[in-house]
Symmetry: D2
Subunit: 456 residues, 4 copies
């Protein structure tokens, strides 16, 4: 028996009360306005939650007759859908989590537009940007009055092997048994497994308020549809604010195996932790995978050692095939974070004390020109090198799965990554390993690299 | 046994999670900035909830050593108080409702500052202002997803006789038994009685989520401290937005006996309902009091008839000494409002369809010059005459109990109200009756009028 | 406008899910069975909550066409009512608290029948009876997992003066502000005032789970209809188990002015506290009233001193016209109770440690013969004298307001109270004072004593 | 890293407030009393939730130093554990679901003892037994006020293949997406899979009150430890009351592949549905498994046809490898049940209308003598044959995994099943298939049959 392909529906919000002003409805309703486009695109990504594709273009193509419209009614706002993907429905009724997420998108687009467009952030200071991230998260009700830090960010690939996925579930289960919550980038693979494991563990612990926080952004959401366990979804305006949200709202990070995106995230957090101002800030960071992935982490570890040095290597711990130990390390780390925040009167719900250098905050839009300009040489401060390496990986993610990036590559060919010969050799080796291990794209077709490494 | 006069305390929010950005804390913390002054003033008014004074100057004087400061802590923001009025505490611990209100003030001041200062509303259109009122109320979580309109606004004097006060309690009790909620201006007298009666009735009906909504503004809060039953408090930025909030968020209005402020409110709602665009909009409006107040309403009724005509008289119903009938009329009115909103797909929680002419929206600051310019003649559209009469009464309220108005009167003598002879004669007679009945100020001293009526 | 006199209705339970077995429905449905009679009688008392009568016979007469029947339906059991008193309804819909109470009666009658009839308690040990009281209260969900003892029993007359009633409200308000809960015998007067005051105070403290516990029994419920603020109602099977419930579930007692019933309660608690086994058990006990009632307490105090001695006088404190002090004394007492229970590992929710002598547990049915046999002489242990004095007052209550007692008096004339001359003289003086002060019956008619004092 | 083997702990109840009388504590505390033994045994089974053994003797042996004791404390009763199995704990803290279940055991043992021992059920009528089952379930808070029947009983083996287990999860997921709840016998295998699938689906549907009801009995609990997802656990006093509970509290049944226990359940429900009095009662019944299990159901289907006839075959539907269709069939069946109950004013929460013949209600204790006496011949009413076939399978379950049955077999050799030759041939063939498919016991050792088939 099959689900239907397409469903028309009129859906009301559930839980969060979305009450829009006539202004807001008007702006989102302009059929061809940029806000309506954005809303249409993100909504489709969410409704397409049952899909296994990471090709946004294909999704747009498949559902090109999909329509979404806001309707004002007595008890609030409703959404009118036409030709929505059937996988978001059960016997014609939308799955509640999908319904919630649609309204989260609405909330975040409206708020972002108010805050960002109204104020203009072009030349904003680092502090200002940190405040903006805070306000976006606050508006999304992400902050909770907690007794103890408890939010574990899980990073890792959307395209991982079955045994790796099972391992992420087991880790999530052990984290959940210790009443820790999960935050991920909210796609499939390592972003879904920990939430699934934690959801079962939270049921065993009778935790009714377990949090499965998904942080995404308009560029990535189409390739990595939020999995339906996510019960808090936030659409950050760009990748840099999404990364800042991860490290300010999370109290610790577990990194699972992954591809270019995961490498980007590793360089982001290491670049920040290497900054002198963050020397004393505790930040539990564990790299972990099943025993079959031991070699993968050896490669990463070696790359970090060679490129960023042993100081960077000291910022994390690698744990192989031991989900209980991962969970205990995180639980123990939470206590250290708690002590530190109390001592410094810093909020539990937002890591104000962490210094994030501007290099990691300003939006980087990967064009061929910008990629060419990246400074990948050893003769600079380590955190600055980390910043540009981060951008290099970010470009590859864009070229792989983001609509804009894919379009650029199609038009102008692969990005050219220039830099120091020794450095690039290591980078190239790592990337080739990712390709071999099918971590760049979901399996199914041969991977055509979106980059070329060009040594000086 | 006596309560202590002054208490020092560190208080945390309860219920609503107030999590401030460092930006916001900084702005409110500047010791002599305008935001800090506003926050200090409103906080004192709330803490002074046990007081019977309507003299803001005296209150400021009495508690001139009161201090309030924001402190960032692990689980959120706290407030540090010094020399706070003892009536807000029980055995050294702040009463929860007072605590909630303090954080409501914080919320509204921050939001207003963001919205108003950031955007500039000087030349805003009528629609824009309506959207601003909406956003302020939404931010204060006033909107609820309800099955049926249920919010009854109760207007009436802060200075009323004991038998009038008891009657407002009885009306509130009957409204509460019918599971209706109460919204008032949140001071003593007719603003407290209905809430008290409804609170007992809601307990009998096992309604745990009864709403006692208080709408105030910085100018009036000091003279009319919110009574502690109020469980939703909103500080609107000015009197006009407060009035707009009343008529857009309320589904019906009961007017009890009162003085100049009540007259202002009556002229406001009649002026709006008389506008041709609102001809078909149902708006349950009842004037009610105990049998001893029958004459009072006869005077008002006659004044309305003579000044605004019988069409205005048709907009309301007068019910004397019959609390059950008042409640039934309102309950019945709710059903009509429901039908209308459904038919017009208008929200239950905000009356978008009601047209409010600009004359009732633009802030009117009563200076001697502005008062002199009021156009109190018959030869104009009725709703415009109502608008200027509303402003005349508003000026008298300011001169009676608002800090700024009292200061003006002290410096420049009484306001001079010019206008048509016949009209002013009626106005003067009404005002003199208010004075005789001690409705202008809380009893205790002889009332010195803050106005002079000067016929052309 | 008037409420309707009689209402027919089909009502479903709300909150507590009453799901009955077919056995139970059958037993309660037998039209003329003793259980159905009991249920009919108690239901009528509850529905008659708006009445001011304390004459059960008159109530039965007035509503002799009232009928109640149990109906099984898909979602549980409903009650079919015919000719129910209109005061239990608002515009044809039953007040929720009344509805809850009806189902409480159902619950208690079914459980009592199961437990009492099934087991037979005729020759039960003291321990057994204490366990039965426990099980009845547990079945009624009276027990709560609390952090601190907080249940204040308020005793006092159903027929008291207005200023006394207002004082009980003020005391209740101060108790409620300290987050203490209230337990009374659930009729009017001193049983209603404290709950009303506490309900408003709990609203101010945002306590949504304030408890207003009413303990009654089939004999008294008709004369003292539960007031609608009561949100937990328990029908104990007889007066002795009701009294035991008061002192085991309450953590402290405030006694307001009252008549014979109040005197019975005072002798009950003093008799128990005077027992040597209870020497070390802390039990906060305060007698309090407005300044006008000072003399009343002087009389009581003198009577206790003369009859039971100064040791008895040391068991309580008298506080006149100081509601804040009463509340502080109770709050302070709660802390002592807490320390004691912790030290002795006794439950917070049930005072297992208090020894109640059998004399206070066995049901005493006041017949002319039994009253004549009371041993009212000084030459016995104090707590035994207290026990028989308690029974003497209990008989007077029965003769005044209980259906069975009133019938006895009508048939056989007044009860004859025999005993020591000096003792009886003091008793008679006290009783005459109660008559003069109109504390025996609700005012309205001349009081005809139901007793004669006959000295040996 | 390993969990600890043994843990000592003092645990408090969570959620359900267990407040025991001193009587009850005393009775459960007598070290060698039968109640304490029962409590000890059931508690161990629950604590041993991480185990994969179905050998109760081995479990008792392994944890022979385990102790459990009731302790009275201020806020209620606690349990003192010594040498409890480590798998019930996470880092020394008991998993909440295990904690809840321990107190469920306590509740049920106390209540059963009160009801069963106190009343004596030896010669109870069929109606009486149905009322007892009702009261046990009511006391366990199983009944809910629901809008629509929604409780799907899932039967099937505790020892099933991986692909069968995965299929039960998929069926549970589809049931959960349709907001249906799950009831099973609460062990591993087919009793765990559907709950796990439903738990994830309920999370997606934001159902916070999903019910995972486990019904067990003292004889089976040791072999089939409740899985920790169970959030309502009831210990019925014997297997017949457990079976009655399944069919009265469930609204439909899905049968997955299983062994003798599953066959017992199939014969139980068919025997009842075949009774003429139940002709019109709708009872959705589906047999389902993955495609690899198609043959298994063909065998069962053939056996039913040959032994009970085609009428019996009409009572169920077989669905292979189509979880969506199973869920839709159940959802559709719920609507039929709803219509029927409404039309007959029968409760949603308890199927009073279903007639259960005494043969299926009276406890059958499988001794060698009783097994020999079973009447397995064709010349009798179909439902009576079903009843004795049910008992035959029940005996085999006892001989396989229940402590008492295993002991009998050890002492006296296999049970001897007598009967009609043709009938027994079919039975034997079925049983041998179960053995071959490893459905009798968890894999690991060779299965030694506990029965012999002896034809007349």
């Amino acid at each position: 028996m099959q689900y239907e392909d397409r469903v028309d529906a009129l859906v009301a919000p559930k839980g969060s009360l979305e009450m829009l002003s006539q202004d807001e409805i008007f702006r989102l309703s302009e059929e061809s306005g940029p806000l309506h486009d954005l809303f249409h695109r993100c909504s489709l990504a969410i409704l397409n939650c049952g899909s296994d594709s990471d090709d946004p273009q294909a999704v747009m193509e498949e559902f090109k007759d999909f329509e979404i419209r806001i309707v004002q009614q007595e008890r609030g706002v409703k959404l009118q859908l036409k030709n929505a993907p059937g996988s978001a429905f059960v016997d014609g009724k939308m799955i509640s989590s999908v319904r919630e997420m649609l309204f989260s998108v609405l909330r975040d687009i409206i708020f972002t537009q108010h805050e960002i467009l109204a104020r203009g952030l072009e030349n904003a200071s680092s502090d200002k940007l940190t405040n903006v991230v805070f306000e976006l998260l606050r508006n999304a009700n992400v902050f909770r009055r907690i007794q103890n830090p408890d939010m574990i960010v899980c990073w890792g690939g959307h395209s991982i092997a079955r045994h790796e996925y099972d391992y992420t579930k087991r880790v999530g289960h052990e984290l959940g048994l210790r009443e820790l919550n999960i935050c991920t980038g909210c796609g499939p693979g390592a972003m879904k497994g920990p939430m699934k494991g934690a959801a079962i563990a939270h049921a065993k612990q009778r935790m009714k308020n377990g949090v499965y926080l998904g942080l995404t952004e308009p560029g990535i959401i189409a390739a990595e549809s939020p999995n339906p366990i996510v019960n808090q979804l936030v659409i950050m305006p760009d990748i840099e604010k999404r990364l800042e949200a991860f490290v300010r709202v999370g109290h610790g990070i577990v990194v699972f195996p992954g591809g270019a995106g995961t490498a980007e995230e590793i360089l982001y957090i290491l670049g920040i932790l290497l900054h002198p101002k963050n020397a004393g800030v505790p930040f539990p960071l564990v790299f972990s995978g099943p025993k079959e992935s031991a070699e993968y982490f050896e490669q990463i570890h070696a790359f970090i050692g060679e490129v960023l040095g042993s100081e960077a290597q000291n910022k994390y711990r690698i744990i192989i095939e031991d989900e209980v130990e991962v969970a205990r390390a995180m639980k123990q780390g939470m206590e250290e974070v708690r002590q530190y925040r109390k001592a410094h009167q810093d909020a539990f719900y937002y890591n104000w004390k962490l210094h994030i250098p501007e290099e990691f905050q300003y939006p980087f839009e990967p064009t061929h020109e910008k990629v060419r300009e990246l400074n990948l040489h050893f003769n600079q401060e380590t955190h600055l090198l980390a910043a540009d390496l981060r951008r290099a990986f970010s470009s590859i993610v864009a070229g792989n799965v983001k609509a804009q990036g894919v379009a650029y590559i199609k038009e102008f060919g692969p990005f050219e990554i220039h830099g120091d010969k020794a450095l690039l050799a290591k980078l190239d080796a790592l990337l080739q390993a990712f390709v071999r291990q099918q971590r760049m794209k979901l399996p199914g077709s041969a991977y055509v690299p979106c980059y070329k490494v060009i040594t000086d």
